[in-house]
């Protein structure tokens, strides 16, 4: 996946943004704030979250959809976290 400051895979330059209602924007802000702390143990989610967060300067339907997908993913695997192996390795696992 390419990584670009414009929003990477989520939104490329020149794509039309479909703006959303203010109450949805507020919901998104809340969700972004809450998921941010989750990236402490959910490193597999960090890139997806980063793409949403950096697009919060102008939220649109695509950002909202991405956030919903992140939450759906997290709801499916709420017990996952960082596993520090006794031998010294780290892996993402439940």
């Amino acid at each position: 996946m390419t990584f670009s400051p414009s929003g990477g895979a989520l939104l490329s330059k020149g794509v039309e943004r479909e703006e959303i209602d203010l109450d949805l924007v507020q919901w998104l802000r809340l969700a972004v704030g809450m998921v941010q702390y989750l990236t402490f143990t959910r490193k597999e989610n960090a890139l997806a979250f980063n793409l949403v967060a950096k697009n919060m300067y102008r939220p649109c339907t695509k950002v909202k959809a991405a956030m919903e997908q992140i939450l759906r993913y997290l709801a499916n695997r709420p017990d996952d976290g960082l596993r520090f192996k006794a031998g010294g390795d780290v892996e993402m696992q439940r």
Binding site: D23, F40, L71, P78
Partner: protein, 266 residues
């Protein structure tokens, strides 16, 4: 007056809080109320913050709490308010050390950490008018001896106290994180303490060393202690049979996902 249906419980809690501060020797009552305060000193406002604690299973109210907080925004003479907390990276490194070297991780929680440090300058606080009116007393002003929630320097005093206590036990701040304290033991192993306001994670090669650190900090404070830490700053720690350490946030993750249904989305 309070509008809560069970407001008497909160009034009782207010009294308990005032009694606790008195017992701790945290304040002196200024004779003559506002007039007893030197004219050069500011009198801070204060208020009670109310909270209920519920039983986790039934949701019934377990405890009514009232906390006195000063209005720190009225303070003009405080210049140092910096108080660091442990960095996420330091914390993960500690977890890695625990898993790799098979160290023990214990948790220490300082009780009413913001109330135990002595204040560095005279500070005056007026009790909430609603409270003294209810008691039928005239305006009451306190000169604070110890720190109180809401004061601008309260977190810093707490941090300085913690730092001094740990340095007294032979710990030194890491160069990379002021909240990560390190001590080399005589057998060549290292003991680490990560501080996060009133929470500390103690990591060392033996449980005896962990308990020695606890006893060292116990000297001047009341602490809550867990030999095997199960949580730290909202992270659940689970030790596997084979020594693996799983760090995850199952409760918080579920809470976050609940917010999804908080507003019906299209």
């Amino acid at each position: 007056m309070l509008s809560h249906p069970r407001c008497e419980e909160f009034l009782k809690a207010e009294d308990a809080e005032v009694r606790k501060l008195t017992q701790m020797g945290a304040r002196k009552v200024v004779k003559g109320g506002r007039r007893g305060v030197p004219v050069t000193e500011h009198i801070l406002r204060s208020s009670f913050v109310f909270a209920t604690k519920r039983f986790a299973d039934s949701g019934e109210i377990e405890k009514f709490k009232a906390g006195l907080v000063a209005d720190g925004s009225g303070q003009r003479d405080v210049d140092e308010t910096h108080a660091p907390t442990i960095g996420g990276t330091s914390l993960r490194i500690i977890f890695a050390v625990v898993a790799q070297r098979g160290h023990f991780i214990s948790k220490l929680d300082v009780e009413s950490a913001f109330l135990i440090e002595d204040l560095d300058r005279p500070t005056y606080v007026q009790l909430p008018k609603e409270y003294t009116d209810y008691l039928g007393k005239p305006t009451e002003v306190w000169e604070l001896i110890r720190s109180l929630y809401g004061l601008r320097q309260a977190p810093r005093l707490c941090w300085l106290g913690m730092q001094a206590a740990l340095q007294g036990l032979g710990f030194r701040s890491s160069d990379h994180d002021p909240c990560l304290f390190v001590r080399k033991e005589s057998d060549g192993t290292y003991t680490y303490v990560a501080t996060h306001v009133d929470d500390c994670a103690v990591v060392s090669a033996s449980m005896e060393t962990n308990q020695e650190v606890r006893d060292g900090l116990l000297l001047n404070k009341g602490v809550k202690w867990e030999d095997q830490a199960e949580t730290f700053v909202g992270l659940a720690l689970r030790r596997g049979q084979n020594g693996d350490l799983l760090v995850h946030q199952p409760v918080y993750t579920r809470h976050v996902c609940d917010v999804r249904g908080w507003r019906r989305m299209g």
